[in-house]
Amino acid sequence: MLVIRQEQMQAMIAGDETQLESVVADAVRAANPERVKDYEKDVLDSMVKTAVARAKSHDLSKAEDIAAFAAVMFEIAPNFDEQRDIKLVLNDAHFPPAERFYQLFERVPDDAWAEAEKRYDELVWFPSRSAS
């Protein structure tokens, strides 16, 4: 039987950071094409870089988990992880990082998600453009 180790699997998906960002950009487009359609490549690339870094700051390491986290940033808000209930779950050291992320949908109530969306902060996407 052919056994593919996790590292080999990740290498097949994205061997380096550039490939990872490219896969995440495509995954974000697949998750919600309307949200990112017609974005210039440099704009979307910069947003995806931000999303990948943010996902990694929560210790997510697999490409599919990073892409899923990025998809939520585009779908809800780039700072969705700052909402109190969401933050509590993401910081719950009783569980591995990826498990915490997927637990958000069981442990965080609807109104907390609504609050996260309401607190949309575009400066997370465009920090250097805040002065203009």
Binding site: V23, D26, A31, E34, V43, A68, W113, E117
Partner: protein
């Protein structure tokens, strides 16, 4: 004001900026246009319904897309 109500004023703002940028294509105006366009996309998206459900769907689609790269 709900998301739906904010869409039309934001569309107007983006249109105005697009026109301004066509006349005077400065980096500052472009940056502002990018930001305001993103805000418009956010509002249109947010008006679509329950955030938690949408987030969950986005996660499923993104994850499936990535994993399909190994098992098409």
């Amino acid at each position: 004001m709900g998301y739906q109500d904010q869409i039309v004023p934001q569309e107007d703002a983006v249109k105005k900026l697009t026109d301004e940028y066509a006349v005077k294509p400065t980096p500052e105006l472009k940056a502002k246009l990018v930001r305001e366009t993103d805000l418009l996309r956010y509002l249109r998206n947010a008006a679509k319904g329950v955030p938690k459900d949408r987030a969950q769907k986005a996660v499923t689609r993104a994850k499936r897309f990535v994993l399909n790269k190994i098992v098409p």
